[in-house]
Symmetry: none
């Protein structure tokens, strides 16, 4: 009794998008302990979708998870293909039509006749509601030993529908009684190989397994255990996680959904402190990360994007002489930016970034990837020089700059606790 | 005569990695004009790999591109599975063994007996050399109308082997003489279905084909044509793109890599205008989008992240009375924020955003998704009320807010041209 993931979309065959839906569903099936041996990608084509359903059944797949092809346009054919394969008529689901109509009304947009099509489901199927978009999916057993679920291709919608409806339904049918539960430990300020050397012995474990991942400056260790419940799995995971945290020290910053911004936010909140930022090369990215955290308004008051040098001097009060002498990308300008925003906004902390993100603006002395970060507070000012490497692109350098600024503030706040 | 991509690896079935190899090969096949209707993912299992080969042949795939399963460990089974399916013995390729031995010596590592296995290829196959790793692939015609190529799963190695050897080989066999070239038209401010209704007749075309995509508020139409070169393809695409642009009017904002921020930037640059932003709920995201564009410092001077109300009044000069009477999420506060930042920064334009991104902060009158955008310049001030829908999450509402603000400025700049 295994599941098969079937992703429908010519854009996948043209390589226009990465098939992140297959990865998401694969992870979810693994967590539910539902075996899964094949994934198929097929274009928006009635005959080929039918072929794929036939093959999936013949090779013993009993749960078919479809993504894509539920949209309003004529090349969205998944529902039609499935119904036609099982020679079942499509009927208009009144509740879905009402829901689609209401969503269009709410957004003040005109519903087209195409959208009516999205309310069609095979006779006998249940609607798999889409709380965030207009395309509902279906849950359908066209024959006793076959379960079909369809999801739109938009990852956000698909994931929400999976969690809200599909997983509870699978549980109710007796699937997923064993679970693989994971906890991810997150690190900043250490490379993957350096962390791997420190925690090497843990990679031999089987319960929990420990696996490293790295990307965009962050290193993660995923600890996974198989058990009857998440709680039981955590009993196996927690002692190992504690040992790893003790070995890693301050490079560990949080687990699972914790971001650097969220961790910094909690520390500020505990102290009753407030924060303002002054950004040059990141142009607002640091503020955007901080305000990604719901409730951040209680400690984050805002900031100044000082992209032009005149803004650095006129709004933040950076000295024109120092700017001329040392340049905008310098420790002294970073410090004056941090002091300036802290003073202007009246916050406990001022955090600033100025650097060369590229591709232009580099000199022999100030290469792409050179970034200064500074922190101002009642006790004084600190600054750090970072060299992120000129082989990196603009977006990565900006991302590393904003995260590293948060990380320095995190370490400073931790030192005060 | 079509190709099929077959990715082998249990890590794909567990969702541990994203299948970027499938996307890469799909793009490459599209560029070579080699049709490709199916992709399959299968685990490291002899029987299931054999099943997949059988199915691929039965459905008319004539080029099978395998990735993964060429490593030294016992669970790397791709070569063995293919040879066994065609009942062909594996033989040790002396040149490959020498190459593997040399690479181990070069890295100062001990070669294990497992690695010898990587030099085995089916009798009659050619080696597909791997210049960057130890696992070579094969090029094999086990029967007259079937071509098999195998690549390791490591993307860097696979891509190098594809470019260095596979593409020249395909060309030499008469494949890839035609190319599929695409242009993507991008739209903001219109829903997918409304645009589809307007341009419906184009969906019937076959040269170029026209296909819609939508995500995060943006709608795209991809025009693809098959031709001997990209230039010839563009001769077919351009007149259709022109017609679609004429029908869509101002909802069209750019093509291919054009972002709203880049389009706005070019328009500002043409006029010699400058811009500053004042952000509340987006917290810096609008600035981050604008500064994502290299060279944006010539027109974007920066902005004020006014997350706290005191910053709105003290730094931007929003009236305390109006703020108290109308609330921070109101048209009048948005206008005063835009005016304030335009005045403080001395720019041609001031663009502001204030809204309820959720999950907290909503009231009956001011639901999640209610956002005010305002624009201030010498001619006066304009504001817009947006209702993005309370079913959306914080990140999407913030993204829609920042993009919509750019879009309003884009339309205003276009009206002045």
């Amino acid at each position: 009794m295994s599941a098969e993931i079937i992703c429908v979309g010519t854009e996948l065959l043209l390589g226009e998008i990465l098939n992140s839906n297959a990865q998401f569903l694969a992870q979810q099936l693994a967590q539910l302990g539902i075996p899964h041996y094949f994934q198929t990608v097929v274009g928006d084509n009635l005959d080929r979708i039918a072929q794929v359903i036939k093959i999936a059944q013949e090779r013993g797949s009993r749960i078919l998870l479809f993504t894509g092809g539920l949209g309003p346009t004529p090349d969205d054919l998944t529902t039609e293909a499935i119904a036609s394969y099982f020679q079942t008529p499509l009927i208009e689901d009144a509740a879905s039509l009402d829901d689609i109509t209401a969503k269009f009304a709410q957004r003040g947009r005109v519903m087209s006749s195409n959208n009516r099509k999205q309310a069609l489901i095979p006779q006998g199927a249940k609607v798999l509601p889409n709380p965030v978009g207009t395309a509902p999916g279906v849950i359908w057993q066209p024959k006793p030993d076959l379960l079909i679920m369809t999801f739109p291709g938009v990852p956000r919608e698909m994931q929400r529908m999976w969690h809200d409806t599909a997983v509870p339904y699978l549980h109710s049918q007796g699937w997923g009684q064993q679970t693989i539960h994971s906890q991810t430990l997150r690190f900043w300020g250490i490379g993957e190989s350096s962390l791997a050397v420190k925690v090497q012995s843990f990679f031999e474990l089987t319960q929990p397994t420990v696996a490293p991942y790295a990307g965009k400056g962050e290193v993660r260790l995923r600890l996974s255990a198989k058990a009857a419940s998440a709680e039981e799995a955590m009993e196996v995971i927690t002692p190992v996680a504690d040992q790893i945290r003790a070995i890693a020290g301050p490079d560990y910053f949080g687990c699972d959904q914790d971001t650097l911004a969220a961790v910094v936010g909690r520390a500020l909140q505990r102290r009753g402190d407030t924060l303002a930022v002054a950004e040059s090369c990141t142009g607002g990215m640091l503020g955007a990360m901080l305000t990604e955290v719901p409730g951040s308004s209680s400690y984050f008051w805002g900031g100044v994007i000082a992209y032009a040098n005149t803004i650095k001097t006129q709004v933040l009060g950076v000295s024109e002489t120092d700017l001329a002498q040392w340049g905008a990308v310098s420790a002294i300008v970073a410090e004056q930016m941090a002091q300036g925003v802290q003073r202007l906004y009246g916050t406990t902390w001022g955090l600033s970034i100025t650097g060369v993100a590229g591709p232009g603006g580099a000199t022999a002395e100030k290469p792409i990837g050179l970034v200064y970060i500074a922190l101002a507070w009642a006790q004084g000012t600190m600054n750090w020089e970072c060299r992120f490497g000129s082989q990196h692109d603009r977006e990565l350098i900006r991302h590393l700059s904003a995260c590293t600024a948060l990380d320095y503030l995190r370490r400073q706040l931790a030192a005060l606790e």
